[in-house]
Amino acid sequence: MARINPKFTTELQSYGAFDTNACYNCGNCTAVCSLSDEDNSFPRKMVRYSVLGLENEIQTSLEPWLCYYCGDCSTTCPREAEPGELMMSLRRYLTSKYDWTGFSGMLYKSLSISVIAFVLLAVGVIWFASSLNFEPELLLHYGHYFEMSAIGSVFLLILFPNLIRMWNMVIRKPKVNVSFSAYLKSFSELIVHMFTQKRTLGCDDSQTRWFQHLILVIGYLSLLFTTVFLDWFATNSSFILILGYLESVVIFSVTFIFMIGRLNKKTQVSKNSHPSDWFFVIWLFLMGLSAFVVRLFIDLDILETNIWMYLIHLTVLVQWAVIIVPFGKWTHFLYRSFAMYFEKLKSLSVS
């Protein structure tokens, strides 16, 4: 027995959903979806739960993470109820439900809060830099130090607890009975999905989209590795140097293509974007671009006289690490991979 809550769709709207109520439950979206199957019939189920406001059912669902938003459901929806957009919104909704700090929800729901957060961080970086008298060497040193510690703490303090919360919502609370060995056996699934996002391939239209994604993920991760662990800005090894250049070029060119796509609004995916999507791609682009320029300035020996360039890079980096990675769209990549993992666990569960 479940009590209907008609107000829930209003809440979902703040996460970007719209026209969900127009659904007349024909099931066309589920039928055209190339990723849905008998055990995971979506998106209509999610649409229905949303309309009825069955929050508990939504929170225990993994379906929103199984969708890669090819947009077929929305383009063929007879009622123009935008099921694809709803799935996207549900991912944002779930992200904020997983997040123990509550920041995700605030940032998703309010553009002004997001902007204020970005500005505050920028001011903080400049204030910090001024306390160091804009000394390039010190800045680079602390910058690198920040990178190292940020990655660790974000994972440890925010993302890890959130993943535990997600596990709690979808596995423990609904009493899915999973053996310990299943956790180990399915672990490979997690790794594969995390690095390849191979499920997108199931979407009929998106061979190129998947390829772009793959390149981006590889480029992004390796740039991270190059700057943080290989200390790209301080290295003398020409191999690392060129590697870093290549990676940043790849990141900003692929994100550039993404942005153009969003501006042209051609594909369904890009038709209705949420600010958080924009922050994600713009910052990714800026990261690649600014890292590239900083290294270029170092190589041209003009960074010392143009330390503002490094400050821009550092600001972008801090914003990325403090907002987008723990609370923004970046987490989707993590939750999605885990969702695949939990899904596998569910299928292995003893009922």
Partner: protein
């Protein structure tokens, strides 16, 4: 006896020839020496074959014709017309039904079907041999139509008939016109209210000199037949003189001590024994409800227009045709059907609409503000256990429209539609779309597993197993439960039984042919319009009332009618006038007359309907029905039992 009969056996494109060996039928019938020509044809009704028949009959001077094809209800008229075009009197044409009654009925037995078809055609030939040319009775048709019921359908057809040039008697049983639509506010598709629509039609009708309106009026007697129908109308008094002084009237209503539930508002409000339906209704004159009036005389003291001396009046009118637009009744749920009358916040859709009419900025029922409304569809329609198997057609759209109206009128209102499959057909679909977008929630139950309304403490809970959520059990706490009651036929069928209008499976008036003749009835001269024929929305009622007006008018337009000559005939030699036939005739068509000093019966041709009820009671077998004479029937019997 005829000698040159033409017989046509139809394949009906296989419908007949797949089971009946039509060639054999033809060959068998050819053996009859009176059969001059016999043919088979793919489609007897096709234009080319009709042409051929005309040529055959005319050129070969046939004196009788038989077509063996489908049911005479389909094509008897077609082929009698063919006969007439060829110059053969249509009563020398006989139709043999070898499809419905042979090929289709016995598609399991081709030999039997063929044999039966042969006998049927032989009987038809036997009958046509003994048929005579007949000419129709021509009677003058009165250029007047009685329209029964002054709801939208009645008003509209009255206007149409008057504008076409007929005299119209508009007879309304209630004291106010407008029927059900007067009880509704905003109407779907237009921006007007029910009252405004009625006002528009009423003004148009009252401004036409050809229309006479009677309110509080009922037809109590009926005689005659199409073209010349005599009706006796009883007009109940309003007990109110015309030309009222508004102020005094208002006071009269004020002082009346009697308070009764107001039927116009489906009993959600009360009224006095002297009452209006609503301010500005038509005719704009209150009425005293004598059923509840205590005759205390208070009203008389303050208003000089009250007149208790008025009595029933009786009026005889003559019309050429009658148009029935008697409408429907809303289904009245049984006690405890979805909590009706047992749970205090359960109302019907008509009551809900009146409630919305009376509540301005807050929807309040029984002192409690309403935020969540549960609509339960198909109450009294599509019944699994009950009698009403039909769909009431209008209610899905009406409910959604009412829900949208309420949602827009009141803040923070939530609508929950517990339905069995929404049927917003045609353009009404956009309303369904609109309501969904406004946030209305639709829940669908299995047909045999309706939602349950129950009381939990002081809360009313509606529970459903929702098809749309994979049969999950869901519940809503409702402040108001609206039972979407369908249309049922008028409980009081007095006019129907008076005019002998047959009713269909659903008990609504039955049309003569569901597809192509939807406003005509088996009773010549009587047409049916609006929801009296079956559930309809306003536009459909309008279409049907206009169509019915056209059919009624075309009967009388020419000023003359041709009536069927197949009536009773008295054998003057044998009749001894015992009066039994007169007793048996329901139409008073037989009277005593004196012929050469002998008392015999005589038939009034324009009144006799040719039923034959007088025949079996005649002790001297002195009555025959033209077209069904002893000779014809007995020879048909002989043909049916004959063995080759």
């Amino acid at each position: 006896m005829k000698k040159k009969i033409g017989v046509y056996v139809c394949h009906c494109g296989g419908n007949i020839s797949d089971y009946v060996d039509v060639e054999k039928v033809r060959a068998e019938i050819e053996k009859d020496e009176s059969v001059f020509l016999s043919k088979t044809t793919m489609f007897a009704c096709a234009d080319s074959n009709q042409k051929d028949m005309v040529t055959d009959i005319a050129e070969k001077q046939l004196d009788g014709a038989v077509v063996a094809s489908c049911s005479p209800t389909l094509h008897l008229l077609t082929f009698s017309a063919v006969a007439e075009r060829a110059g053969l009197n249509k009563y020398n044409y006989i139709h043999a039904n070898i499809r419905e009654q042979a090929s289709w009925a016995h598609s399991d037995d081709k030999v039997g079907a063929t044999k039966k078809a042969i006998q049927i055609v032989k009987a038809a030939v036997a009958k046509v041999k003994r048929s005579n040319a007949l000419e129709p009775f021509r009677v003058a048709a009165t250029n007047a139509v009685a329209v029964v019921g002054a709801g939208i359908a009645g008003l509209r057809s009255a206007i149409q008939l008057a504008e076409s040039g007929a005299q119209v008697y508009l007879i309304e049983r209630e004291f106010f016109v407008g029927g059900r639509v007067a009880q509704w506010d905003d109407l779907f598709v237009s921006n007007e209210t029910g009252k405004e629509l009625i006002t528009r039609l009423y003004d148009r009708a009252m401004n036409h000199k050809n229309i006479t309106l009677f309110t509080g009026a009922e037809i109590i007697e009926n005689s005659g037949s199409v073209g010349n129908i005599s009706l006796k109308v009883r007009i109940s008094p309003r007990h109110m003189k015309l030309d009222c002084n508004e102020g005094n009237l208002g006071r009269a209503i004020e002082v009346c001590p009697v308070v009764v539930p107001d039927k116009f508002n489906f009993n959600i409000t009360t009224r006095k024994a002297i009452y209006h339906n609503f301010p500005g209704e038509y005719p704009q004159l209150p009425v005293i409800d004598m059923e509840h009036c205590t005759r205390c005389g208070e009203c008389e003291k303050v208003c000089e227009n009250v007149d208790f001396s008025q009595k029933d009046e009786f009026l005889n009118i003559k019309v050429g045709s009658v148009l029935l637009a008697t409408g429907f009744d809303p289904y009245e749920p049984k006690d405890d059907e979805f909590g009706y009358k047992t749970i205090d916040n359960v109302v019907t859709l008509p009551q809900f609409k009146r409630l919305v009419h009376y509540c301005d900025d807050k929807l309040v029922y029984k002192g409690k503000e309403v935020k969540n409304i549960a609509y339960i569809y198909c109450v009294g329609s599509r019944q699994v256990d009950g009698e009403n198997k039909y769909c009431s057609r209008y209610c899905c759209t009406a409910t959604i429209h009412a829900a949208i109206t309420a949602k827009k009128k009141y803040k923070d209102l939530y609508n929950f539609h517990f339905n069995r499959g929404i049927r917003t057909y045609g353009k009404q679909e956009v309303l369904y779309d609109e309501s969904s977008r406004l946030g209305d929630i639709y829940l669908q139950s299995f047909e045999d597993h309706p939602p349950v309304v129950s009381k939990e403490g002081d809360k009313t809970i509606v529970t459903i197993n929702d098809i749309l959520t994979a049969d999950k059990t869901l519940e809503v706490e409702a402040d108001l439960v609206v039972l979407v009651t369908g249309m049922v036929p008028r409980q009081d069928n007095s006019i129907g039984s008076l005019l002998k209008i047959p009713r269909g499976r659903d008990n609504f008036f039955n049309e003569i042919h569901m597809k192509l003749r939807p406003v005509e009835t088996v009773i010549d001269g009587v047409t049916i319009a609006g929801a009296s024929q079956g559930p309809k929305n306003i536009m459909e009622s309008m279409n049907s009332s206009l169509a019915a007006a056209t059919k009624s008018f075309s009967l009388i337009a020419a000023g003359e009618l041709a009536l069927s000559p197949t009536i009773a005939k008295i054998d003057v030699d044998n009749c001894l006038w015992c009066g039994k036939c007169d007793d048996a005739c329901p139409f008073n068509a037989l009277t005593k007359t004196d012929v050469d000093g002998k008392q015999i019966a005589v038939v009034n041709g324009s009144v006799c309907k040719g039923c034959g009820m007088c025949m079996p009671v005649c002790p001297s077998n002195a009555i025959e029905l033209i077209g069904y004479t002893d000779d014809q029937i007995e020879s048909m019997i002989d043909a049916l039992v004959s063995t080759d």
